[in-house]
Symmetry: C2
Subunit: 210 residues, 2 copies
């Protein structure tokens, strides 16, 4: 029952285990089955599961689907909802706001901003304010996580406002390198890299190596 940290590599595989387990009907599941479906090795799966699960597998039988699901969700931090703000509600931003899955992932987008909006509007149940209200609104709501889905030209400006407002973690979908102070972290959603990986694969072949 290891309490603390598991590797980033493990962390990245967890959502796949979760997705697979949720699609599964039988209560017993073995590392071999998981490995085969995901293109990993049995041992890798067992090590990952050992690292995050409270209840051990039973030799000769496998793991309990339901407790694995529970443990993976805990490890991924689902349940503790982080509140987030999003800047740029064009197609990509709207997609994220409307994305059902995102709530399950532990994120709740509570407010949006857009340069094209001149007074408060709504996307589903999420309020959207003009871009120049970013600092005020975020400060008031005390939000620490910001999502950037504006275009390349405006990304750094938005980022600066986020930082000024007290945002500490930024999920960046714009193809730019953002400059931030040391205490703010940026997670770049790297579409270009994924694509490069794919087109390399188109020539070589391979499977899951996120």
């Amino acid at each position: 029952m290891p309490i603390l940290p598991f590797s980033i590599q493990t962390l990245k595989r967890l959502p796949f285990y979760l997705s697979l387990l949720e699609d599964q009907s039988s209560e017993d599941v073995t590392s071999g089955e998981i490995a085969r479906t995901l293109g990993l090795t049995e041992v890798q799966v067992r090590k990952d599961l050992a690292a995050i699960s409270q209840t051990a597998g039973t030799p000769g039988r496998g793991f309990s689907r339901s407790s694995l699901i529970r443990d993976i969700k805990i490890a991924l931090g689902y349940g503790q909802l982080d509140e987030a703000a999003i800047a740029g509600v064009g197609h990509l931003g709207t997609a994220l706001v409307n994305f059902d899955g995102i709530k399950q992932y532990g994120l709740r987008i509570v407010v949006g901003f857009d340069i094209k909006v001149s007074k408060k509007t709504w996307i589903s149940e999420t309020p959207v304010y003009p871009a120049h209200d970013i600092v005020d609104v975020i400060r008031r709501l005390n939000i620490r996580l910001g999502i950037i889905t504006v275009n390349r030209e405006n990304a750094q400006t938005v980022c600066d406002s986020f930082v000024e407002a007290g945002i500490k973690a930024i999920w960046n979908f714009s193809p730019t390198i953002l400059r931030v102070p040391d205490d703010v972290i940026v997670q770049n959603e790297n579409l270009a890299a994924s694509l490069a990986l794919l087109s390399r694969h188109l020539k070589a072949g391979g499977h899951l190596d996120t």
Copy 2:
């Protein structure tokens, strides 16, 4: 002048080098500058650049911005445009179709499909067909790369049609594990993992470790 392979880790960093270099004005750039901006080490940068560049850096001065840009684009396969089909033109799909950057990344989305469409329509200059035309149209256009931006429930069905149509590489944005034959590869765009990484970081701190 190494001709063949560089690691996947290197590949993933290349788009960031490229973005940084394109924002840069001076023709000389050192590994130290790059490393500082991206939160990497100098040596790491130098090794990456050595792995992909045709022209070496010059000691005491640095690298040539313009030839680095050229070499990175070659390494990433930009220029050789891959033609792609996309299934699901909701918000996310439309965002991808309209995403200017994507062309620079070496991808051209030439056709879309959607279950909600009953006859041929258009998004900008991209034709969109009803979902039941997937196999016919893709076969006719001889496309090998498919993008899935439908919801979880329809993802596997679309995937099966793609495979039937001869698609060999799939870029999967749905939160599902797709079952495909061995000769088809899947690149999962793993939003859940990114998020988990972010919220872990929210507690610990860190930088670029895609």
